[in-house]
């Protein structure tokens, strides 16, 4: 379903760009009448529409006749319909909310969406001494709980191990009460990076 949604986004984007370009071209070539300059017949000529019409005519004749072209056309048509239906499903089926289960008990569950959880973790990590920038991604685990993946940039004098320890300590208010694991990657910030 994730792949289908990505394909849907791509198809939508491409179709919108094509539509925008076609609309712009039609608008520009509607400025003049007749058959020259910025007229619609001239646009058809630029787009080689008469040649396309001739070629399509040949193709349509081949599709109407029984033979290999007709069979392949039928197969391509069926696949196009199937793809269209799948894209419709991707567009219409509501997206399931991805939650990180922080706590589960008889009295209820405590969940968090991944983005605010990552934001909360980032708010805890960024003030750590020696950290110039931190990015946090939260992922849910199948059996409850989740993982916080921290990627931090440090200043040159700071040590990786010290930064990792500092980050782990700062994340404790978030990780200790819940089923959250952390992975921390630290690397030196590029020369010229400023402390944020």
């Amino acid at each position: 379903m994730i792949l289908l949604r990505a394909l849907l986004r791509l198809v939508t984007f491409v179709l919108l760009v094509v539509l925008a370009v076609a609309g712009l071209a039609a608008a520009v070539f509607s400025i003049q009448g007749g058959t020259g300059g910025l007229s619609l017949p001239k646009l058809a000529e630029y787009a080689q529409l008469p040649a396309v019409r001739d070629r399509t005519g040949d193709l349509l004749s081949a599709v109407e006749a029984s033979g290999g072209v007709a069979r392949y056309s039928l197969l391509a048509g069926a696949l196009a319909v199937l793809l269209g239906l799948l894209l419709l499903v991707a567009a219409l089926v509501p997206r399931r909310e991805r939650l990180v289960e922080l706590e589960r008990g008889d009295d209820g569950t405590l969940n968090a969406r991944r983005r605010p959880l990552a934001q909360a973790a980032r708010a805890l990590v960024e003030p750590a001494r020696g950290v110039t920038e931190a990015k946090v991604r939260a992922r849910a685990r199948r059996r409850g709980g989740g993982t916080l993946r921290v990627r931090a940039l440090r200043t040159r004098p700071a040590q990786d191990a010290a930064i990792r320890a500092s980050i782990a300590e700062r994340l404790q208010p978030l990780t200790q009460p819940f089923k959250l694991k952390t992975t921390v990657r630290v690397r030196e910030a590029d020369r010229g990076a400023r402390v944020q």
Partner: protein, 113 residues
């Protein structure tokens, strides 16, 4: 049998209202967040961020979607549960499970961003 009027809130609606008000009164909770079915029509207005479902005779499961300030989440969750249970007791309702989802994070002093 008397017809049910939308103006007279059902126990489910009363619990939804009470739970939402109680949750929004907890320090650290900035607002309720609609979505994932968490919208309850109480006959007059929509209550965003709360879903109350019957779980048995006179027992209702409560689910809340909330935005919070960047504060430790565990105490906020505990506070929400306690507040909802107290609010339910005040209206003689029996909540079953109380689910809390942290759906958004607001910057300090900001709500509804």
């Amino acid at each position: 049998m008397a017809p049910v009027s939308a103006a007279v809130p059902t126990p489910r609606i009363r619990l939804a209202r009470a739970a939402l008000d109680a949750a929004l009164g907890v320090p650290g909770v900035t607002r309720a967040v609609a979505g994932a079915g968490h919208v309850t029509w109480d006959g007059q207005v929509t209550l965003d961020g709360v879903l109350v479902v019957a779980a048995g005779p006179d027992v209702y499961d409560v689910s809340l979607r909330l935005a919070t300030a960047p504060l430790p989440l565990h105490p906020i969750a505990q506070g929400v549960r306690v507040a909802v249970e107290r609010a339910a007791a005040r209206i003689d309702a029996r909540p079953g499970r109380i689910d809390v989802t942290f759906a958004d994070l607001d910057a300090p002093g900001e709500a509804g961003a």
